[in-house]
């Protein structure tokens, strides 16, 4: 029974997603077609990778309040600098990851709260993005636009990216030794330290990976929007946190489910367009995300599996 409950908890975001999709299908059967899914889930592609970045942070019990502005900035670098001087852009991306790693180390060494440091970081990324694009503009490199408009055979592009992200997440957290160590570190840092692992190294690596996924997310977003805006990904910060928690992750660290989080991101995306299919005023579109979060997470409470020994 406990195992059953544990599985339900992990699959909660997938079930929520299926229910939403089913309800949309009931009103508009074209929604489940190749084109329908491409349009419905298109916006999820950058969010899925933002969620991967947030997962890295949550896995060690930290939170990243700066991932949204970071993605905006990555997109801005891609639109302004990447087309003309790719090497400079690459250098900037490496520097940005360096700043992430520096903050990870700072948080570890000074035992700071990740919330405060990443709050400061969010202003830094936003400021840099504003310097690059004071008003919306720039032009995405053609290969990014081509990538995002590509129509792969059989599988819609957003679904392909979701599968890819789930595989990456699963690989990092469930296959590699590194992932096991990171999850262990999130659960009980002292034990991992005593087993001879460098907790400083773990922090640095986790923050570096978060930066890498943030850059990927920014470039994919740029491929979709074709131009940059300093505020275009601001909302991703909270959406990514919600996706990770919806996917069965917990703030205490150590508990993280890659597949669930990816479904969480898909659910959050679907929530915004859901009401379009039911002739409800668009005023309530924003509320839908909130309602789905509350319903899904209270279901988890009702099922009553907290992941802790009873």
């Amino acid at each position: 029974m406990r195992h059953f409950r544990a599985h339900i908890t992990r699959l909660l975001s997938a079930i929520t997603f299926a229910v939403l999709l089913g309800l949309i299908y009931r009103n508009q059967s074209l929604a489940l077609s190749y084109l329908g899914l491409t349009l419905l889930l298109g916006a999820s592609v950058p969010i899925v990778f933002a969620t991967l970045a947030q997962m890295m942070m949550v896995s060690v019990g930290d939170l990243d309040l700066s991932i949204g502005p970071f993605i905006s900035m990555s997109a801005a670098i891609g639109a302004i600098i990447l087309p003309n001087s790719p090497w400079l852009a690459a250098l900037l991306y490496v520097l940005a990851i360096g700043v992430y790693v520096f903050c990870g180390v700072l948080i570890h060494v000074r035992r700071l709260s990740s919330i405060v440091v990443t709050l400061g970081l969010s202003f830094i990324w936003l400021g840099f993005a504003l310097l690059l694009v004071p008003s919306p503009g720039g032009q995405a490199p053609q290969y990014l636009v081509d990538l995002m408009t590509w129509q792969p055979p059989f599988v819609p592009l957003p679904v392909l990216f979701a599968i890819l992200a789930a595989l990456i997440g699963y690989f990092i957290f469930n296959i590699t030794v590194f992932g096991t160590v990171v999850r262990g570190f999130g659960g009980n840092p002292k034990v991992i330290e005593r087993s001879g692992r460098s907790s400083l190294g773990i922090h640095a690596a986790v923050y570096a990976l978060a930066g890498v996924f943030g850059i990927v997310s920014g470039l994919l977003l740029l491929g979709q929007t074709t131009s940059a805006d300093a505020n275009q990904a601001t909302s991703y910060t909270l959406i990514s946190i919600a996706s990770v928690i919806l996917g069965g992750g917990e703030f205490v660290g150590g508990k993280i489910y890659a597949l669930g989080s990816v479904f969480g991101a898909l659910t959050m995306t679907l929530a915004t367009s859901f009401l379009n299919f039911y002739q409800v005023s668009s005023d309530w579109q924003v509320a839908m995300q909130g309602i789905i979060l509350i319903v899904a997470l209270s279901l988890r409470t009702v099922i009553g599996y907290s992941g802790k020994p009873a």
Binding site: L63, L65, C103, L106, R110, R111, L112, S113, I115, V116, V117, L119, G120, L121, S122, F123, I124, W125, L126, G127, F128, A129, L130, L131, L132, P134, A230, L238, I241, A242, I245, E250, F251, S281, D283, W284, Q285, V286, A287, Q289, G290, I291, L293, I294, L297, S298, T301
Partner: protein, 322 residues
């Protein structure tokens, strides 16, 4: 730990809000010097503007501080939405009429408080983590504001708008009101059961409960106060800026957390620093004013703000005992 053998200087040096005040002083002097060189506003008018804008920040940050003090993970992300909703509701209730000001303020306070109570219920009954619970309620509240306001902008009653710009010397009257409110919160924190209970809950909720503290009641009160203060601020901001708008609360999401933390309140909970709220709020405003007069672009301003937040956090956050 007894403080008795500390000299006043030692106590001041150890106070958590000191860094915020020192930083504020430095920025204030720098801004004044800059302005004097460029023929900008002198110290007096600058102080008036700084106090006016900081007062809004202080009012909402007081609530955020109480919530953060109630323990690790507790944070109120619904503040911006509450500011938007209460602005729309109170302006709607007052109909620009001086006779309905009391009703408008009552509507603002109670709408905010209602959201706070809902936040608590989501956290307590449905066991949703506070960050997600207040985020979800923020989304729903924002939708309510959109549906109610429909982009409608109602002008505030003339009397209320006038009250907000009245000042004694260089000090706006409603800043004095906010200082009185700060004093009230200080009394609440240091002289009442609620205040002691809040700190106990923030340090260790289980220990507090086992010691007989009514944890649920006090946390409920905390979220309700935070909501009510955000509601009041929403009404005041709308009156100050000539009418309500949906995005009038946007900046207060990150700003309140930044102000609370720079002011010396522990993010891990259990330790509030009230004086630091004013210091932090004035600092954040003056910093932007300084960079403005120095000719920095919006991007550079934001970037430097971020660098300074990280620096202040790195230098002042004490090692968490947990």
């Amino acid at each position: 730990m007894s403080d008795t053998h500390y000299s006043p200087w030692n106590r001041l040096r150890n106070s958590y809000s000191l860094s915020a005040w020192v930083a504020t002083g430095v920025v204030l002097v720098a801004t004044t010097l800059f302005n004097a060189g460029k023929g900008g506003p002198s110290l007096g008018p600058l102080l008036t503007t700084a106090l006016s804008f900081s007062t809004f920040t202080v009012l909402v940050s007081l609530g955020q501080m109480l919530v953060i003090t109630s323990g690790p993970g507790n944070i109120d992300l619904s503040i911006p939405s509450v500011i938007a909703l209460s602005g729309a509701l109170s302006m709607g209730a007052m109909q620009s009429s001086n006779g309905l000001i009391a009703l408008g303020i009552l509507v603002a306070l109670s709408s905010g408080m209602a959201v706070g109570v809902v936040n608590f219920l989501l956290i307590r009954l449905l066991k949703i983590p506070p960050i997600i619970a207040t985020m979800a309620s923020a989304l729903i509240v924002l939708s309510c504001a959109i549906a109610y306001g429909r982009g409608m902008r109602t002008a505030p009653p003339a009397l209320l708008a006038e009250m907000l710009v009245t000042r004694i010397g260089y000090v706006p009257v409603f800043s004095i009101f906010a200082m009185a409110l700060t004093l009230l919160v200080w009394l609440l924190l240091t002289r009442t059961i609620y205040g002691r209970a809040l700190c106990a809950i923030g340090q260790n909720r289980n220990a507090a409960r086992l010691a007989g503290v009514k944890t649920d009641f006090h946390v409920l009160l905390t979220y309700a106060i935070s909501g009510a203060l955000a509601g009041l601020t929403g009404c005041l901001i709308a009156s100050y800026s000539g009418g309500n708008s949906l995005d009038q609360g946007n900046e207060y999401l990150l700003l309140t957390v930044a102000v609370v933390v720079i002011g010396g309140t522990s993010v891990a909970g259990g330790r509030a620093s009230l004086g630091g709220i004013w210091g932090g709020a004035l600092f954040m405003f003056l910093l932007v004013a300084l960079l403005n007069t120095a000719g920095a672009s919006a991007g550079l301003r934001t970037l430097l703000t971020g660098v300074i937040i990280v620096m202040v956090a790195a230098l002042t956050e004490r090692r968490q005992t947990r």
